[in-house]
């Protein structure tokens, strides 16, 4: 029940440019905890274990931000949100940031008054179908029954895709991913559509993953990223640059293994600036000098987090693809730390 008189200041700060009255960062520090909105459960991205400890790709970002701000990766309250409740939870100030594979779209950014601080996973909506269905393209799906997770953009993309291709289908809206998978496996729908990463993640848990294939069509762009309330630029910067710190760490070869070694000082000035041994980047953000170091220490750099939670070694087995560093043909490109 924190009272922040500046909760309503969103539009004001946008008007009185430059004189942004920050609230969230101070709130988080005063509270000693970061309230982070995550999914109620998506394999590899966010799920609680038997002890109630949350883990996953999105969860890891929350922990990194908490580490950067509070110096403690466990100082996070995870607030499970559904596709329907996530935006109100953020708008009402119940959570400080939302890391719940949320697609960056124009209307969410502009009309719903949120700021997407970056993209932590480039995704696209795909279809998964049993191999014995004999379908090689989504355009062959005329008359098929399609399971979708309701309350997400996938519903709209699906409607557009089938409309544009002038084929009919039967949508079966389902509340949660787990239930949708259940239905798909039982044959209650012919194909299941959601973000391709989610499909791969789910396929990993099937009894016979080899019997199912992703269709080649990716029918939408789904840049998934963390978001914060519109107007609180100071806080937005903290989340944004924590994400970029993880990306840059991978680019520069800073890993959890060599972190402490590198933090002692290196020949590379950018690494030094990143890890706070040179320059005052942390101070500019209103954080300690070792903020990025703390963020990276949580689960390693972006590549390590990816590999540990959803990478090819895990049951989910996602290839880096678009999410590789720009130097390796991907889209992950962090602005310089300077």
């Amino acid at each position: 029940m924190t009272k922040s008189i500046l909760f309503g200041a969103l539009t004001v700060t946008a008007l009185a440019a430059g004189a942004a009255a920050a609230g969230t960062l101070d709130d988080v520090k005063a509270r000693g905890k970061l309230n982070c909105g995550v999914s109620t459960g998506l394999v590899g991205f966010a799920a609680p274990d038997a002890n109630g400890k949350w883990g996953g790709f999105d969860v890891s970002l929350c922990r990194s931000v908490a580490a950067a701000v509070l110096g403690d990766a466990d100082a996070v309250e995870f607030v499970p949100t559904t596709g329907k409740t996530r935006f109100t939870a953020l708008a009402s100030g119940e959570i400080d940031m939302l890391a719940r594979n949320t697609t960056w779209t124009f209307s969410r950014d502009v009309d719903l008054k949120f700021t997407f601080v970056g993209v932590n996973y480039y995704d696209g909506q795909g279809f998964i179908a049993p191999k014995d269905l004999g379908v090689s393209s989504a355009k062959d799906l005329d008359g098929a029954t399609v399971c979708i997770q309701t309350g997400t953009t996938t519903e709209l993309n699906l409607a557009d895709f089938f409309r544009v291709n002038n084929i009919s289908y039967e949508p079966v809206p389902i509340e949660t991913n787990a239930e949708a998978i259940q239905q798909f496996l039982a044959g209650a729908c012919d194909v299941y559509t959601t973000d391709a990463s989610g499909l791969a993640a789910s396929r990993a848990t099937f009894e016979n993953p080899g019997d199912y294939a992703l269709l080649p069509e990716i029918i939408s762009k789904e840049p998934l990223g963390p978001l914060v309330r519109h107007g609180d630029d100071e806080w937005g910067d903290v989340v944004r640059w924590t994400l970029y710190a993880l990306l840059t760490a991978e680019e520069l070869g800073v890993t959890s293994a060599n972190l402490s070694e590198m933090a002692a000082g290196t020949d590379n000035p950018e690494i030094n600036r990143l890890l706070g041994t040179e320059g005052t980047l942390g101070e500019m953000l209103g954080l300690d000098a070792g903020w990025a170091q703390a963020a990276i220490a949580v689960g390693g750099n972006y590549g390590e987090v990816f590999a540990k939670n959803i990478g090819e070694e895990t049951p989910i087995g996602l290839a880096r693809g678009l999410n590789a560093q720009w130097t390796e043909g991907g889209l992950m490109y962090s602005p310089p730390f300077r």
């Binding site: 909760f7 309503g8 200041a9 969103l10 539009t11 596709g83 329907k84 935006f87 109100t88 708008a91 209307s107 009309d111 719903l112 008054k113 014995d132 269905l133 799906l141 005329d142 008359g143 098929a144 029954t145 309701t150 309350g151 519903e155 709209l156 699906l158 409607a159 557009d160 089938f162 409309r163 289908y169 039967e170 949508p171 079966v172 809206p173 389902i174 509340e175 259940q182 239905q183 039982a186 044959g187 209650a188 729908c189 012919d190």
Partner: protein, 422 residues
């Protein structure tokens, strides 16, 4: 100490507002009303401030923008380019469909179970008691999910019906298919149909009126009216002469023959579902979400209705039955002429409030993805447009009107049975 004097005619003092019982009630009411106005004003003021801060106003224009999502079960034609408003109407119709189906099924089940619970067969009455206790003590949401899951596991996917080595096949002379997507049943078709009348052009409230259906209803209504007249006449003859002419074959003929003639004239036949492509095509498709919701609501509510029916029957003293027997009334007539009219007076009010509960519980449809009004207006529309206040207001208004209409029916009924009392 006590001298009796005429009460003085007091002039009005301010304190009398509090201490004089003549004025106090007015004062209290005024204060209550003022408090209420202040409360409402405060809420509205807060809302305005908050909405301003979020940069939103209260407006309903969004209802007339394209919804851009599809709805699987639609009683009226609808596609993703239609407006949010039309999507809400489709959702409302779906709510009403499942509520109506649920009320009918719950009543039938409830009456059967309530009567069987009074059965003198120990096993049957125990099992019915067990049914009642199990169903009403577990949340209805769990039942909905349960039945959804049962249908998923119990029935086969359409592909199991395919090919020579099909592991499943259609039931009832190949007319009904039970699949884990839902149940396909034959649909009525007219080969020489009269067509439809299209109303309201292209607007959001457009709908088609099937002339076939109207013709059918009209003929059936007329036949019933005629049959009723025949019965009236037979009653009259019985009153005058004491002999009742046999009219049941005549009445049956009056009802059946014109209807059959009409059906033949319109070229009535059944359209059977058949497996084509990914799914069964043709026939009427009862989706799994509809069936799960319908069954769960009916089974859950039936447990309550059974108790009401049992209590209603038990409330009529056995003396009534015995008196009727003493008068020589046949046992079938005792039920319809003596017991039921009295029991109904006890049964119907709680029955209607159970209908109300069932209708409200139908909003749990979103748990299984049935697109009722909570799923369209209060679900996807609200979520995609971010218009929470407006959507929720509209949704509450809809439910409130449904509830108030049902209560109005109940009040009307209560009034009408009251008249028969002494």
């Amino acid at each position: 100490m006590s001298t009796i004097t005429d009460p003085q005619k007091e002039s009005f003092r301010l304190s009398m507002l509090l201490y004089d019982s003549r004025y106090r009630s007015a004062t209290i009411q005024f204060v209550a009303f003022l408090g209420f106005i202040i409360l409402v004003g405060w809420l509205i003021f807060n809302t305005k401030q908050n909405l301003d801060a979020l940069g939103k106003g209260v407006e309903f224009k969004y209802l007339f923008e394209p919804a851009s999502y599809d709805i699987n079960q639609r009683l009226l034609d609808y596609n993703s380019r239609d407006t949010h408003f039309r999507a809400a109407i489709i959702g409302l119709l779906n709510t009403l469909v499942v509520a109506a189906l649920g009320c009918v099924a719950a009543t039938i089940l409830g009456v059967v179970i309530g009567v069987l619970r009074l059965s003198n067969n120990w096993l049957v009455s125990r099992i019915m008691a067990f049914y009642v206790e199990v169903f009403r003590n577990i949340p209805v949401l769990l039942w909905i999910l349960f039945i959804f899951a049962i249908m998923t596991d119990l029935f086969a996917a359409p592909k199991a019906f395919r090919g020579d080595s099909a592991t499943s096949h259609m039931q009832l002379f190949d007319s009904v298919a039970f699949t884990n997507r839902g149940i396909y049943i034959p649909e009525p078709l007219f080969s020489r149909g009269l067509g439809d009348i299209h109303l309201f052009g292209n607007s959001s409230i457009r709908f088609d009126v099937s002339l076939d259906l109207w013709a059918f209803v009209l003929v059936l209504g007329l036949s019933f009216w005629a049959a009723f007249k025949v019965k009236k006449r037979a009653d009259q003859i019985q009153d005058q002469t004491g002999n009742r002419p046999k009219t049941w074959y005549l009445r049956l003929g009056i009802i059946v023959v014109p209807t059959l003639l009409l059906l033949v004239a319109l070229g009535f036949h059944l359209g059977y579902p058949a497996l084509k492509g990914f799914n069964f095509q043709g026939g009427t498709f009862l989706r799994k979400s509809l069936i799960a919701l319908w069954l769960a609501l009916s089974l859950y509510t039936a447990a309550f209705i059974a108790e009401i029916v049992r209590a209603g029957i038990m409330a009529i003293s056995t003396g009534q039955t015995e008196a009727a027997e003493a008068l020589g009334i046949r046992s079938g007539k005792i039920m319809s002429l003596v017991i039921l009219p009295q029991a109904l007076r006890v049964i119907i009010p709680p029955l209607i409030s159970n209908y109300l509960n069932l209708t409200k519980n139908s909003s749990l449809a979103i748990a299984v993805g049935y697109m009722d009004i909570t799923g369209t207006l209060g679900g996807i529309t609200m979520n995609q447009t971010g218009r929470e206040l407006e959507s929720i207001l509209l949704m509450m208004l809809v439910y409130l009107s449904i509830s108030l209409s049902i209560s109005a029916v109940m009040n009307w009924y209560n009034e009408s049975v009251k008249l028969e009392e002494r």
